[in-house]
Amino acid sequence: MCTGRVDLAFILRAYSNGADGVFIGGCWLGECHYVTEGNYDALFNMHLGRKLLQEIGIEPQRLRLEWIAASEGIRYAEVMNDFGKQLKTFGPLGKGEGLAPDILKLKLEALSNLIPYIKLVERERLRVRFDQQEKYDEYFASRDFKRLFDELIVDRLVRVQIQLLLAKKPLTTAELAVTLGLSPATAARHLKQSTMQGLVRFDTAQQCYALA
């Protein structure tokens, strides 16, 4: 099994279970034990994972990827000690970020639900392959990436959260806006879009939104 097998879903599952950090250890770039060089995929996934975590308000550095060869036991211990220290400064997951437990749960659930979609757009629109590790940093920090990310993922992520909330009970625009920390106008825009897509409906009797 290769680091490239590490699914975004695994990472999110760990956070959903309350893990304060997730560490991925892989073979050095260029030293693939298969011929697949899946560690580049792992590197891409790590960056994407960090962007997604950031988007739901989780400290992105809670996800860490390091290259460690089988013979580098000492390095592994050092890296893990360092990561442990780093995680302590972040505090417990959610609490450190100032996210209420139910909101944290909601956001992680929304993100998990979105994974099949993310995999599709990752392949179609986001995927890149570079030789050098730094190029990945540049790409994920670039405007191009931000534009694509915003366009493809950000709005959808909010709408999934809206759907998850509405699945529990109907809510008004204002209630949704407060819960998700959105401006009423943004919340209204998402609700309008979701209504047009037939995902939610406005319940005129109760003056609130519900799942379609």
Binding site: M1, C2, G4, R5, V6, D7, L8, A9, F10, R13, A14, N17, G18, A19, G30, C32, H33, Y34, V35, T36, E37, G38, D41, N45, A70, S71, G73, I74, A77, P101, D102, K105, I115, P116, Y117, K119, L120, R123
Partner: protein, 1031 residues
């Protein structure tokens, strides 16, 4: 030895117990590898060792260079493989007495020394050891710690039974005691055992007795034997080892204090012409010392290490980087100086060493511990063995071999592998072992599969209707785990986990006896999943999967929880938390085990045809051997003629007539009807997998498809074309190969030359090509000696960085010096400068001895140019989907134990495509590759893993994400009534699982690593989160 209930005779062979195909003398790593290779090629093997256990010198080592793998961890699985192999009979504590007969029909008389233990009855429980009143210095730990008169040789010994030291046993000496007899619960002790003579009939004999270490005590070298804190490198190896006398704490013998300043003295007993010394270089000491330095610094970063050395001979693959790694560590000094021991300081037993440097002159320095890097001697009983076997020894006391066939002795039917050929390291011992398999196979191919047996497993129990019954076994790993993790507490905890129906412990789960116990537990308790909390699946998973099979459950019901590397070793100072972590790891494994599915490995037919790529010395040697063993071979050469680089080599240091040998080989290849030679051929495409490759080869504009079962890549290497030292602009500057060509062609300018300067390490051991080309020092010596012979008056200077005339080549270095060839060392920062000066060349180089610039004049300059990977290497790597190392040579599957295998099954390598090497080494390796390849060709089928991908077609949305992610082309679309669906060709799948992470619907899944299994493990990591964080 544990009797093996499932080992049955196949077919109707009425095998005489004392008849076999090959007798192997020496159960070290070379003998072990040869046994396995032969046994897997359809021969019945007797593996005889005079020690109480197989393992040899490798079992004494802490780690192995240059990867620093734990030596025992990589060797002991092979003990078990041997002991479980139906075609290998291990006979320990036994010596060969007489050999009669001839090749194909030897009768060997042996004597089994009395162990005073009935091997079949002993369980290795160690109770007799506890009761034995006699303490003796432990022979395995080099006498540095105590053991009992009755003891097990070492804790992973095979067979894992005790033996009694007759010299110290009170009963055997004085007729008193017998306490052990009363203590033994199985009546395994027999103090009246007598030497037991017996005879074996075999077709061939392989001598793999290894080496003995140089004993510095005989001459009292460097105070050894007089001063307590002077130890041999082998003793230090034990000191470093966690199963050693100080349990892995580096302590010194005098007061058990941690030494802060350790000195290593190189070449002890080696490179000496004085009486009692060995004239040759022992070939391994430089690198094992660097390993010991790195390991010592790992233990104690503050420790100061000083290495007093002569040349640093980092000539092997990845050795140069390893040397640099050691050298760059803080407080590590490599000092090039001869030394003498000063004195032992009475108050603290510290030892002083006197040495000299150019900068500071003579100094005397104090050290807490001195390690003597002792060399390799021929085995102590080499002469006796040679007489018994009727073979000759060389002047150095090692086995006499023909460089054109380094694995054959002077007697037909008797072969030699490992360090009995001469000093060599582990990979070479393994390669020559596989080579010996090839030669035995060639000799005995007519009787292949006649005496061999197969392992039969009991039918697999269908557990699909059973409720989950997980068994957890926690291994002490001797003290490795047991002294850190509270094992009883962990077992108690494991028993409370969901679905666990039994939890127990094991001292060494990997011992044959304990593995058998696990088998019994599975049967007795009706277990249907097994979690073993022990070491690493990297080395031990195959064994325990087998254990499950023998108990009648699917082998994929086995799950490893690594509480050694991932827990005990890293948290040895925090026992409480380590115990907690062990529980966490086990809980995760148990959670995963509950989801494990039975998987079937499948048998694939083998196309018994070999493809050899490269028609040089290596390729032809492999091809001829495989053909002689009865297999069809296609030999592909890109040039118009066979021969490769060897066509440019005419003579060698060890007296090979290369061209005669080469012509003979080419003739044999063309005459061998089962070898099909394709010259001016190039490979277009490689399809398929082990047992069933199809390769498209283009020759003369025609492309043909060759179906084959295995491939050997022997594409060689090239000589670097230098860009420095006026090469290319001044015709008087030439490479060593060009020089050799001109010498042989009797070019007049060679005869006329009055002076010649050779420059070593041109284009290597530097930025961009950070490796040693291994052959150039030998080449330089060879050409220098030849020139001196042609014209004794010629003035030759060799400008070098380190003379790497390893092994027996050292004698030629000395011979050259005696003929007044001048050796001048330079540092890479101050390379020689060559300029044209009229009809001469002028060479300037700083003289490190005199501290001034030396100016030389020469008629010719010969450059020892680097050996570089062949141009085709990269392309071939892609075609065969195999990897190369950072230097561009092909990368073997495991540096130590699989030196000619690629990680991709069914593909092998040999010759300089692997790394630069001399012709005799190339021949050995070519035979080794042939031996490994025949191991596959000789069988009718190969087994493919069950842990591969499969597709749930219902969920597949035909997006193709998996197909684009697979580098093995294992996934294709097939048309189904419901549209295109992905399908996996299981034998091509390597189980990396990349496709899983790309599939949006989870349709493709990697068996044994499914989402369910991994999610269960993740959920198991923090089980109580849900309770403590309920919202």
């Amino acid at each position: 030895m544990a009797s093996n209930s499932v080992e049955l005779l196949a077919a109707d062979h009425s095998v005489d117990r004392n008849r076999g195909d090959v007798l192997i003398v020496g159960g070290g790593i070379s003998g072990i590898q040869a046994s396995l290779d032969l046994a897997n090629s359809g021969f019945r093997v007797f593996l005889v060792d005079k020690s109480p256990s197989i393992g040899g010198k490798m079992s004494l080592l802490d780690k192995t260079f240059p990867t620093n793998d734990c030596s025992m961890c990589i060797e002991s699985p092979k003990f078990i493989e041997c002991s479980r192999h139906p075609n290998i009979e291990i006979i320990t504590y036994t010596e060969v007495e007489r050999v009669s007969g001839e090749a194909g029909n030897f009768t060997v008389s042996l004597i089994k020394k009395p162990r005073y233990i009935i091997e079949d009855k002993c369980t290795g429980c160690n109770i007799c050891v506890d009761y034995c009143p006699v303490k003796i210095p432990d022979p395995f730990n080099q006498g540095l710690s105590a053991n009992k008169s009755v003891h097990i040789y070492f804790s992973q010994a095979e067979p894992l039974v005790t033996y009694i030291d007759p010299e110290t046993c009170l009963y055997l000496q004085e007729g008193k005691c017998q306490i052990c007899v009363g203590a033994c619960k199985t009546n395994a002790i027999d103090l009246h055992q007598q030497p037991e003579p017996f005879e074996l009939e075999v077709g061939a004999i392989l001598l793999a007795p290894g080496f003995d270490i140089f004993n510095p005590k005989l001459r009292g070298d460097y105070g050894y034997g007089r001063m307590k804190n002077v130890v041999t490198s082998l003793e230090f190896e034990r000191i470093l080892c966690s199963t050693g006398p100080y349990e892995g704490e580096i302590q010194r013998p005098s007061d058990l204090a941690h030494p802060q300043r350790i000195a290593w003295i190189q070449c002890v007993g080696s490179r000496q012409v004085i009486p009692g010394g060995n004239s040759y270089c022992s070939a391994v000491c430089c690198t094992y010392t660097q390993k010991q330095v790195i390991l010592s610094k790992d233990h104690y970063p503050d420790l100061a290490a000083t290495i007093f050395h002569n040349d640093i001979r980092a000539y092997g693959k990845d050795f140069e980087r390893f040397y640099q790694r050691a050298e760059k560590l803080d407080d590590v000094r490599f000092i090039r100086s001869y030394v003498t021991i000063g004195r032992e300081i009475p108050e603290n037993n510290n030892v002083t060493i006197r040495y000299a440097t150019f900068a500071e002159g003579v100094k005397e320095e104090e050290f807490d511990l001195v390690v003597l890097s002792v060399g390799l001697n021929p085995p102590a009983d080499a002469v006796k063995l040679a007489n018994i076997c009727g073979i000759e020894l060389n002047d150095q006391g090692f086995c006499k071999i023909d460089p054109a066939n380094p694995i054959a002795t002077t007697r037909q039917g008797i072969f030699v592998s490992g360090a009995f050929q001469g000093p060599m390291d582990i990979p070479e011992s393994v390669v020559t072992a596989s080579g010996a398999d090839a030669l035995c196979g060639q000799l005995l191919s007519y009787r292949r599969n006649k005496l061999s047996r197969e392992r039969l497993y009991p039918p697999e129990r269908d557990v699909s209707q059973e409720e989950l019954k997980i068994g957890v076994v926690v291994c002490h790993c001797g003290a490795n785990i047991g002294r850190v993790v509270n094992i009883p507490e962990v077992i108690e905890y494991a028993a409370t986990l969901k679905n666990v129906s039994w939890a127990g412990e094991n001292l060494f789960a990997c011992s044959t006896e304990n593995a058998q116990q696990i088998t019994n537990q599975i049967k007795d308790k009706g277990l249907n999943r097994v979690v073993l909390a022990a070491c690493t699946p990297r080395t031990h998973e195959p064994l325990f999967r087998d254990t499950c099979r023998e108990a009648g459950i699917n082998q994929y019901f086995f799950e490893f929880a690594n509480i050694r590397e991932h827990c005990a070793w890293v948290h040895s100072k925090d026992k409480e938390n380590a115990t907690q972590k062990a529980k966490d790891i086990i809980r995760m494994s148990v959670a995963r085990a509950a989801h494990l599915q039975p998987l079937q490995e499948f048998e694939l037919p083998v196309n018994k045809v070999a493809l050899v790529v490269g028609g040089g010395l290596a390729g032809m040697t492999s091809a001829l051997n495989m053909a002689a063993q009865g297999f069809e071979v296609y030999l592909i050469e890109q040039a118009a003629d066979l021969g490769g680089m060897a066509r440019r080599i005419h003579y060698t240091l060890n007296g090979m007539s290369v061209q005669a040998q080469l012509h003979d080989l080419v003739r044999k290849v063309y005459r061998q009807p089962s070898i099909h030679v394709l010259t001016e051929a190039s490979i277009q495409d490689v399809d398929g997998y082990i047992g069933n490759f199809v390769t498209s080869v283009s020759t003369a504009g025609r492309v043909r498809q060759i179906a084959h079962g295995i491939a050997i890549i022997a594409t060689g290497a090239a000589e670097h074309r230098p860009t420095e030292y006026l090469y290319g602009s001044d015709e008087r500057v030439l490479t060593q190969l060009e020089l050799e060509g001109e010498i042989v062609a009797q070019n007049p300018r060679i005869a006329a030359a009055e002076s010649l300067v050779m420059i070593q390490c041109v284009g290597c051991r530097e930025e961009g090509r950070n490796y040693c080309s291994r052959v150039c020092c030998g080449q330089a010596l060879k050409n220098a000696l030849k020139l001196k012979k042609l014209n004794p008056a010629i003035d030759i200077h060799i400008l070098f960085r380190d003379m790497r005339s390893y092994g027996f080549k050292e004698d030629f270095y000395r011979a050259a010096a005696e003929l007044d060839v001048k050796f001048i060392r330079f540092e890479p920062e101050h390379k020689p400068v060559v300029t044209a000066a009229g009809d001469k060349l002028n060479i300037k180089v700083p003289d490190l001895v005199l501290g001034q610039m030396l100016e030389l004049e020469a008629d010719l300059v010969a450059l020892s140019a680097a050996v570089v990977p062949a141009e085709s290497t990269h392309e071939l790597a892609k075609l065969f989907k195999v990897s190369t190392n950072p230097d561009g040579f092909f990368q073997e599957a495991h540096v130590k134990l699989r030196p000619v295998d690629f990680a991709s099954d069914g593909v092998f390598m040999c010759g300089t495509a692997h790394y630069p090497k001399h012709l005799d080494e190339t021949i050995s390796q070519a035979l080794g590759a042939a031996g490994r390849a025949v191991g596959i060709l000789a069988g009718d089928s190969v087994t493919a893993s069950g842990a591969v991908c499969d597709v749930n077609e219902e969920a597949c949305i035909s997006c193709g994400a998996c197909i684009t992610s697979c580098s093995y082309n294992a996934i294709t679309f097939i048309d189904t009534p419901k549209g295109k669906k992905a399908r996996v060709e299981a034998v091509l799948c390597k189980g990396d699982g990349l496709c899983n992470a790309k599939c949006p619907t989870g349709a493709i899944y990697l068996k044994h690593y499914t989402d369910d299994e991994i999610f269960a493990q993740i959920d198991g990591a923090i089980p109580d989160y849900a309770e403590t964080h309920s919202h």
